[in-house]
């Protein structure tokens, strides 16, 4: 264990509770990494939270900014961090000094839920469980770069990289290794593609059927295919690349230390991505378990009931202006548990159109626990909601969509229909709520200019941010950069637009 991870041992009382809660969690079937709790002051908590839960990060002002915001909202009583848990093995979790015992017990029970989720959910399977070490190494590396190349030089470069750190392909770690292709232009093209302007390949058949098989139409088809493949081979990258950071790492004209910085920023972006795609599930799962452990297993003392209820309802309160992931996750897990406990799934249930029968449907299937454990293993937020959100659930939870009404200059409830709510939720979760942007051509216009394309799905990009981001992209690519996107024109129809930055000025070309 590295030096900075030495933790103070827990006070005996909390230690006793930890043992007890851990035992219960294990009995309930949770499967978790060893857990290390540490009690910290609010100031230390804010510091650790500013560093995303880790004790050491590379030196950068953005952590100072996060710290300032956290401290300020704590000082003004706007928010308080109760718990902080880190996806590592062993799993580190922080308790806030001075909290009541009931809070500490609740947080511990909650943490075992997170811990189980980190260990078992498929989307976390590719994360580095020794991230403490990796991040400490990143910190050392950045400090070394700063000593050699200058503090502000390195800082500016980190700023540039951070500006692009949402341009990753979060599915990438789950692909088999050979599919994680690299983009270094390969010189060993397939022979038929490399072989100049050779004749279209004829099928080798006996002379007797040659004329019938290798007909002119067939040959023409072959030639067309060949032309297209040649064009594709000449294209760079061959397929649109969502992992823009990797593409830049491999192909942008960077100094070795710059490549090093970009690499570590990318690595961290991938490390934190699973938490972003499972936020609802992760919180829901932890809440699901803290309620069971606290209320059904005798952890909660009768005198603590009111405080517990207050804390729990505060955490899982419904919000009108946004989705509370704690609540949505918890309620959906409970709904799944209930449906599988009573056999309310499958064809017979779906096809039942007798309302009375459907309402009282109960086959005593008793599969609830088994199902929720299965769900927590395989799903992420997107598939979780796609698969398990039901019209009944939406109505019971009073979910609605809202939109801005430009005339009233106000947000307005738009719909309470299941399909609308579901579509909106899914669209918000797609690609972690980030626009889908890929490198499509690095030899754009034959001049090594970089073309990125945004896949437009009804929401346009924020122009005020697009331009400075393009500028940062240019700082890495060092040749003109372009972004193809779409937006609503003043007349209201959607038009293509190419935003470019050539190092000195921006330009826009409408069309396409």
């Amino acid at each position: 264990m590295i030096e900075h991870l030495k933790v103070k041992p827990l006070p005996a009382e909390l230690r006793g509770w930890q043992d007890r809660i851990e035992r219960i969690a294990a009995e309930e079937g949770l499967d978790f990494f060893p857990t290390v709790f540490e009690v910290v002051t609010y100031d230390k908590m804010n510091e650790v939270a500013a560093y995303d839960g880790f004790p050491v990060r590379y030196p950068h002002w953005r952590f100072g900014m996060a710290y300032e915001q956290l401290s300020k909202s704590y000082t003004y009583g706007l928010s308080k961090i109760y718990e902080l848990v880190v996806n590592t093995n062993p799993c580190y979790a922080y308790l806030l000094e001075g909290n009541a015992l009931v809070d500490q017990k609740l947080v511990m029970a909650h943490v075992y839920g997170h811990n189980d989720f980190f260990k078992n959910n498929a989307w976390f399977s590719a994360t580095d469980r020794k991230m403490h070490d990796a991040l400490a190494n990143h910190a050392a590396r950045v400090r070394r770069y700063q000593e050699r190349f200058g503090l502000s030089e390195v800082e500016t470069f980190i700023d540039t990289c951070l500006s692009l750190d949402n341009l990753i392909d979060f599915h990438r770690p789950y692909r088999p290794a050979e599919a994680q292709s690299s983009h270094r232009p390969s010189l060993d093209l397939p022979e038929e593609l490399a072989g100049g302007l050779g004749e279209a390949p004829r099928l080798r058949v006996s002379a007797r059927v040659d004329e019938a098989v290798n007909s002119e139409a067939f040959l023409e088809e072959q030639r067309a295919r060949l032309r297209e493949e040649r064009a594709r081979a000449a294209r760079f990258p061959r397929e649109p690349e969502r992992d823009v950071l990797m593409f830049l790492m491999e192909s942008a004209p960077l100094k070795p230390w710059e490549r090093g910085v970009l690499e570590l920023i990318r690595e961290e972006a991938y490390y934190f991505a699973p938490q972003r795609v499972t936020k609802i599930m992760n919180e829901g799962w932890a809440c699901f378990w803290h309620t069971r452990i606290m209320t059904q297993r005798g952890v909660l003392a009768p005198s603590e009931l009111i405080d517990y209820a207050d804390r729990h309802s505060g955490t899982t309160a419904a919000r009108r202006g946004s989705i509370n992931p704690y609540r949505l996750g918890l309620e959906l897990f409970r709904d799944i548990f209930d449906r599988w406990e009573r056999g309310r799934f499958g064809r017979a249930y779906a096809e039942c159109d007798d309302l009375e029968q459907k309402v009282s449907w109960d086959t005593r299937a008793g599969l609830g626990l088994q199902k929720v454990f299965e769900v927590r293993r395989h799903h992420n937020d997107l598939t979780f909601l796609d698969e398990f959100l039901t019209p009944e659930f939406c109505a019971a939870q009073r979910l609605f969509t809202f939109e801005s009404n430009p005339r009233a200059k106000a947000w307005q409830v738009a719909s309470v229909e299941f399909q609308d709510v579901k579509r909106k939720l899914l669209s918000q979760l797609t690609n972690m709520g980030q626009p889908i942007i890929a490198v499509v051509d690095a030899r754009y216009q034959g001049r090594d200019e970089l073309l990125l394309a945004h896949t437009y799905e009804g929401v346009e990009l924020d122009d005020a941010y697009t331009r400075p981001t393009l500028k940062n992209l240019h700082a890495l690519w060092k040749r003109p950069v372009h972004l193809q996107t779409r937006r609503k024109s003043r007349r209201g129809d959607v038009e293509g637009v190419l935003v470019s930055f050539d190092g000195a000025q921006y330009s826009e070309r409408v069309g396409g």
Binding site: D52, R398, W411
Partner: protein, 376 residues
């Protein structure tokens, strides 16, 4: 703590941004407004890391709770209100980045930046050792006092000591009952702290010819002057006088928002200022800064002479510096500035009158420099 370095670096960047844009902040008046606070909010969109992201305008979202299609959730230039949403414990990173950044800069830091940007000299206060202000601090404990000041820990300790010494203490039933002799109370002592104090007397012509723009200029300029003087003195008082043909003392709000009509008699204001100084601020103990803003129109030459006499005989001997700011207005003649120049030798370093002409908001910063540049 390790965060300190990152936090210090962040503050440094913020200050750098403010320094870069100080001139613009001053002339636009964008950080004036929160009167009386210890800090101001500075809008800083530039420090946000830009990323490709969705535009907020046609996004909308999903909410939960009572709501039928058509119900309003609040103005769309803000985040939709969460209704009775209790503060759910946030996890790191939650909700960050969506809003334009607004950062707090303390007035002391702001003054420092202003001083740096305008190369303002530090002021040598007078009478600094003569005034002392008693300051109460609770730092001792005694045996008598009101029960509101009871020191629980010390009392308990005394009681416990006594119980053990007398053998009353029973570890099996550790009940300790304090008696009267055990009681301990917090107590204070008074320290005399040397203090230097300053008073700023703002006078403004509110006659018909002073428009809203002119008042805005005065407001911005007085904010920065206050900020600077506050950084130079421990305690600072401000008094406000408005005048047209007659003068009266008002509070800050009235000062900046009143509009009168009618003629202008500058002497009326000077007379009132002289009286305030004589009554409340003995010159030996106070650093006195009268500021007068006007468009330069005065009722008559006779009144001007009276004003100059008041200035020379009553106000100047008591003051560190008398500052006259002439705000350009389409109706004003600007005559008073010329008169002051005639009666006082402004280029003489020992002359305590400083005049400055403010033509527009952009001129504010140079005017501040002229007023505060002498370091008096």
């Amino acid at each position: 703590m390790k965060i300190e370095r990152d936090h210090a670096r962040f503050r440094e960047i913020v200050k750098g941004k403010v320094r870069e844009n100080l001139r613009q902040y001053i002339s636009s008046g964008s950080i004036v407004g929160k009167e009386g606070g210890e800090a101001v909010k500075v809008p800083l969109p530039q420090i946000d890391t830009p990323r490709f992201r969705f535009s907020g305008k046609d996004r909308g979202g999903v909410g939960q709770g009572q709501g039928a299609p058509g119900d309003f959730l609040g103005p769309s230039d803000q985040e939709p209100a969460d209704g009775e949403g209790e503060g759910a414990p946030g996890r790191p990173g939650e909700g960050a980045g969506a809003k334009e950044l607004e950062l707090e800069v303390s007035l002391a830091e702001l003054a420092e930046l202003l001083g740096e940007a305008l190369a303002l000299p530090k002021i040598e206060p007078k009478g600094s050792s003569t005034i002392t202000a008693p300051k109460r601090r609770y730092k001792s404990v005694r045996t008598v006092g009101p029960s509101s000041l009871r020191h629980f820990k010390r009392t308990y300790r005394e009681a416990l000591k006594r119980a053990i010494a007398t053998g009353e203490f029973n570890p099996a039933a550790p009940v300790v009952i304090p008696n009267r002799d055990d009681m301990r109370y917090r107590s204070w002592s008074e320290d005399a702290l040397p203090q230097s104090s300053a008073v700023v007397i703002y006078m403004m012509d509110v006659s018909g010819s002073m428009g809203d723009l002119q008042k805005e200029i005065v407001r911005i300029e007085s904010f920065w002057i206050n900020t600077w003087l506050k950084s130079q003195y421990k305690g600072i008082e401000t008094r406000y006088i408005i005048h047209d043909a007659t003068a009266k003392e008002v509070d800050a709000h009235t000062f900046f928002h009143t509009r009168e009509s009618g003629g202008t008699m500058i002497s009326s204001a000077y007379e009132l200022a002289a009286r305030i100084i004589a009554e409340d601020y003995p010159a030996s103990d106070w650093n006195i800064y009268p500021f007068h803003f006007s468009d330069g129109d005065n009722w008559s030459q006779e009144d001007t002479l009276r004003s100059v006499a008041l200035l020379r005989d009553k106000i100047l001997p008591a003051s560190n510096q008398f500052s006259y700011g002439q705000v350009e207005s389409p109706y004003g003649s600007g005559q008073f500035l010329k008169d002051l120049r005639k009666h006082f030798n402004l280029s003489d370093a020992s002359c305590k009158v400083v005049c400055s002409e403010v033509k527009s908001k952009d001129g504010i910063i140079d005017s501040i420099k002229e007023f505060l540049g002498a370091g008096r």
